[in-house]
């Protein structure tokens, strides 16, 4: 069943909700419809650098949109999506309050911006649109800068982008089996985005790619990762497309990869969307049915029979229970968020404290001035790594909390989890400033002379004065020698003192910086969790209101039934039965959505 079928079902449900006077369901269905129509399938192409990621993206869509070079690596993520006309846009980093701004650039010059290591344009990412059937189904490919180890800046940025992705294509070339760093990255990636395909590139070049593929599969199995290894050759694919050679295209392995993307990843994402749409529709039909059944049995019971009174009591009981629960779920939510905020903050502080300790150790071991650049870069990496780890953890906990709250509604069949995946956190890791270390203060020659003279003067004077007592001139060889000696010592002491001061200053700069980071990130993460809380509260409040309304309706129906005459009730029963059948048909359609396996991208 395709996404379009799901949209149809949602539309029917929408009409039904309006017809039964339940406009409150309308909002939820509108959201569901939006999710179905707007969401593309976001596939992140990641891997270490120089493994052929950009080439793979180019070969997938058969267009040179991502620059490929022997040496210069991609520096800015490139988002490739469907467009009627080829277009390219550079999106600037958002700074503070200013919203993201896009700047159209010529498609053929995109390489200049994407591969500029200095990133002079300050771009956060580039967007390229190409008219390709593969992408028309909503597939969005993101070519990322190569990850050089987990602790690197790009690594942290890529990890932070992972939760937004529907799937990940991990690229590694057939020249060698996976390294420890690669498996470590994969393990992390699998935690946040379980849908991973491993592309083994450059199979045209390495005769032993089958061995490597087997070794890689074994490594994946050892690490407990469930991912397929798909061997591909971008060069062959490009060549095949140029010469229109079907055999060669098959050899390139790309049909398998595309099939994988389309059926498993695209399909799974589509299926997921369908399933959640179906779930939404089913919750609504269930409530509608419940109300109508109540009405029906009220009428069928006829007059003031026992059944009717029981029905009334039953409905009242349900309404009461729901009211009780509503206070309970709110309790769970507010307690949970409070715990979450304090835990996340503690985690952040703890991570920063660890970094601070490491940094102080580093400073003690070396002259801070000599290693300033490297140290600053190291610190930045550590901090952004810790920040994104902290974020991923917070998101996990938030999802768990949502599950906990949803448990309260399980009894009424309203266990629907809210969608938290689009909460903006990219600004969070992007907003960490670089540390400013204190300016280097060297012992200048002039200073040195002055210092030396100060020490030396004292020495000369002291010994000179002592000398005058025993009848020697103030400036005698002995006093001058003493002066030189003491002068030299003063300079040495001063240098040592300067070094210690430099270390102290560097340490306090680090502490200040980490304080700033904790302050800034703490604020942002609190804001983010508040947003989560708001979102959860709104979601569950709406749900509670819907349930309340359904229960009230049945109550109302039962009360009405008490007051109607026989003729009216017979007509009502017929009407209700017909309506129930219609809803049952809708329910059937929704069920088909979830059960069907065969899924094609729109």
């Amino acid at each position: 069943m395709s996404v379009s079928a799901a949209i149809e079902v949602v539309d029917v449900a929408f009409q039904a909700a309006v017809a039964y006077g339940r406009a409150d369901f309308g909002d939820r269905l509108r959201q569901t419809r939006c999710r179905l129509t707007e969401d593309g399938v976001r596939v992140l192409v990641v891997g270490e650098f120089k493994q052929g990621k950009s080439h793979l993206v180019n070969a997938l869509i058969n267009a040179s949109v991502c620059p490929v070079d022997d040496d210069i690596a991609t520096c800015v993520p490139t988002v490739v999506r469907f467009a009627e006309e080829p277009s390219a846009m550079l999106v600037r980093t958002t700074t503070g309050e200013a919203p993201a701004e896009g700047k159209a650039v010529p498609v053929d010059r995109i390489a200049d911006y994407v591969c500029d290591p200095a990133n002079r344009q300050g771009a956060s990412h580039a967007e390229v649109g190409v008219p390709r059937t593969l992408l028309a189904g909503g597939l969005i490919l993101v070519d990322t800068p190569g990850v050089a180890g987990l602790a690197s800046l790009h690594g942290a940025a890529t990890l932070a982008a992972l939760p937004l992705a529907d799937a990940v294509v991990f690229v590694s070339d057939a020249g060698s089996e996976y390294t420890a760093a690669e498996i470590e990255f994969l393990t992390h990636a699998a935690q946040v985005c379980p849908n991973i395909v491993c592309a083994l590139t450059k199979t045209d070049l390495h005769p032993h790619w089958r061995r490597i593929a087997d070794l890689d599969r074994a490594h994946l199995a050892d690490a407990g990762l469930d991912a397929d290894v798909v061997p591909v050759s971008s060069t062959l694919r490009m060549h095949a497309v140029r010469t229109n050679d079907h055999m060669l295209n098959t050899e390139s392995g790309f049909p398998v990869l595309i099939g994988h993307l389309r059926d498993r990843i695209g399909g799974e994402a589509g299926q997921l969307a369908c399933r959640s749409a179906a779930h939404d529709v089913l919750t609504i039909t269930e409530q509608l049915t419940a109300t109508m059944r109540a009405q029906l049995s009220a009428y069928q019971g006829g007059g003031a029979s026992d059944g009717l009174i029981r029905e009334l009591e039953c409905a009242q009981l349900r309404a009461d229970r729901l009211r009780q629960r509503s206070s309970r779920w709110q309790q769970t939510l507010s307690d949970g968020i409070a715990d979450l905020i304090s835990d996340v903050e503690y985690d952040l502080r703890d991570r920063m404290r660890q970094i601070g300790r490491d940094a102080e150790r580093e400073i003690d071991e070396a002259d801070p001035a000599a290693v300033e650049d490297r140290f600053a870069a190291w610190l930045q990496q550590q901090v952004s790594g810790a920040a994104s780890a902290n974020f991923v953890w917070a998101m996990d906990r938030a999802q768990w909390l949502a599950g906990q709250v949803a448990e309260h509604f399980a009894e009424d069949g309203g266990k629907v989890l809210p969608d938290l995946s689009d909460i903006d956190f990219m600004t969070m890791t992007g907003s960490i400033d670089a540390i400013e270390l204190p300016r280097d203060e060297k012992l200048k020659l002039g200073n040195k002379l002055l210092l030396g003279m100060r020490g030396g003067y004292g020495g000369t004077l002291m010994f000179g004065m002592a000398g005058t007592l025993v009848g020697m001139a103030l400036l005698n060889p002995l006093s001058i020698a003493a002066g030189l000696l003491l002068g030299g010592r003063t300079v040495r002491d001063e240098r040592k003192r300067l070094m210690q001061r430099k270390q102290m200053e560097a340490k306090s700069a680090v502490r200040r910086h980490l304080d700033d980071v904790i302050f800034q990130l703490g604020k942002e993460s609190r804001d983010m969790l508040r947003e989560v809380q708001r979102r959860l509260r709104d979601h569950f409040t709406t749900q509670a209101e819907e349930l309340q309304r359904s229960v009230n309706d049945s109550l109302q129906a039962a009360q009405n039934a008490l007051r109607t005459n026989e003729e009216e009730s017979r007509r009502a029963i017929l009407d209700l039965k017909a309506e129930l059948e219609r809803i049952a048909a809708l329910e059937e359609m929704a069920r088909e959505l979830t059960s069907s396996r065969e899924l094609v991208a729109r």
């Binding site: 180890g149 050892d222 060069t235």
Partner: protein, 488 residues
Amino acid sequence: MNTKTGLGAAVRAVMRRAIREYRDSPDTVAYLERHLERMDEPLRVAIAGRVKAGKSTLLNALVGEEIAATDAGECTRAVTWYRDAKSPKITAHLVDAPSRDLPIQRREGALRIDLSGTWADRVDRVVVDWPSQHLRTMTLIDTPGLESLSTEISARTADFLSGDEEPAEADAVIYLMRHLHSANVRFLESFYDQGIARATPVNTIAVLSRADEIGAGRMDALMSARRIARRYCADEKLRALCQTVVPVAGLLAQAARTMRQAEFNTFVELVASRRADVEAALLSADRFKRYDGLQPWESEDLLNRFGMCGVRLAVTLVRQGFDDPQRLSEELVRRSGLGTLTEVLNAQFTERTELLKARSALLALDVVLSRVPRPETQSLVVEVERIIAGAHEFAELRLLSSLRLGTLKLPAESLAEAERLLGGLGAGPSTRLGLGVHASTGEQRNAALDAVSRWRRRLENPLSSLAMADASRVIIRSCEGVLADLED
């Protein structure tokens, strides 16, 4: 050169004195004696890098024989020493048991070392004695890959190269990398120590390995590799960590140096066949294996030995007229970059053997003196200090490394000359003076005198900074050393 032997003699003398002072402690004596003996052995050069960087392949290429096992998967599992000897012999040194001799087996022309015994996980190192003139000046040490998924192997290599406790066993390192990866930099940094000579960038050469695979193995891959290597050389971070970066296609070099007549015939045969067919077969490794102009084992063999890029290059070269095996082999070796690497190794390591060895010995002595200090060894400490501070070679190394680390700043135009005169490109007189190999003694003398007067002007210029003056003094001393050698 008398200055060099002077340093060697001084270090040997201080080592012998130390042995006498510590005669009541047999362990220390054995340790010091081992290091004293080491000074007379060939230079120890370790080949290190990440997993699958092509370490064993490069070793084979350097020796010109297949003595280190290579494979598509990870294959070197123990630190293996290859040294020159009268007759072949393989010994496995175990951690906690006496060493044992291993049988010498050859399979398909390649030496196989069988480490499948129950004692395999306790192997400390394997020593292969192998008669080869290429091992005469250097003992090569093959190491298991860093960043390996079997962490134990990785740790073993890291230990071997930069053990925290002991000074490193190797005098110099060839570091292989496929790209400049942050893990490479991290490793080089850990190898960079603050020890005696404070100058490890000086005994490390980086090799951009598997150069033929860059850019998806296009024909101009090796040119591209050269361009990348030049960019890495200029990279501030890398400059501080190694002498220079050389691109080498190890597999191609190894195959070219050991090319067989049959292989050459196959290349000629390929060129003679219909061009379109051959081009189609050369598109991918799989297609080449299926190519029906050759026996399956033939094409498989060629691929294993030369790699896809090697086969493509060889076919193109034969087509261009390299029609005899000797010339083809030479051209392939030249293109592989092995020649450049040998030259660099010669200039950076072989010509500095004495200095690098003296450095290793002093490092070892320093460990003993700081760990087992005694009142009567105080004079030894002073002596070591004196050698380090006094020997001009160490002053050169120190200056060179501070120039490379960027802690000492010179104007751009004098920086290159300063590095050259200090022996940054090689310690030979004509290299230092920037002259060709064939420059006459007269030309060399004139160039040296020129350099002396130029740097003396800089020294005496009142506007020169203190750093410049210090550097000038060392450089003038180096030039005078060259002049003295020319007089001899």
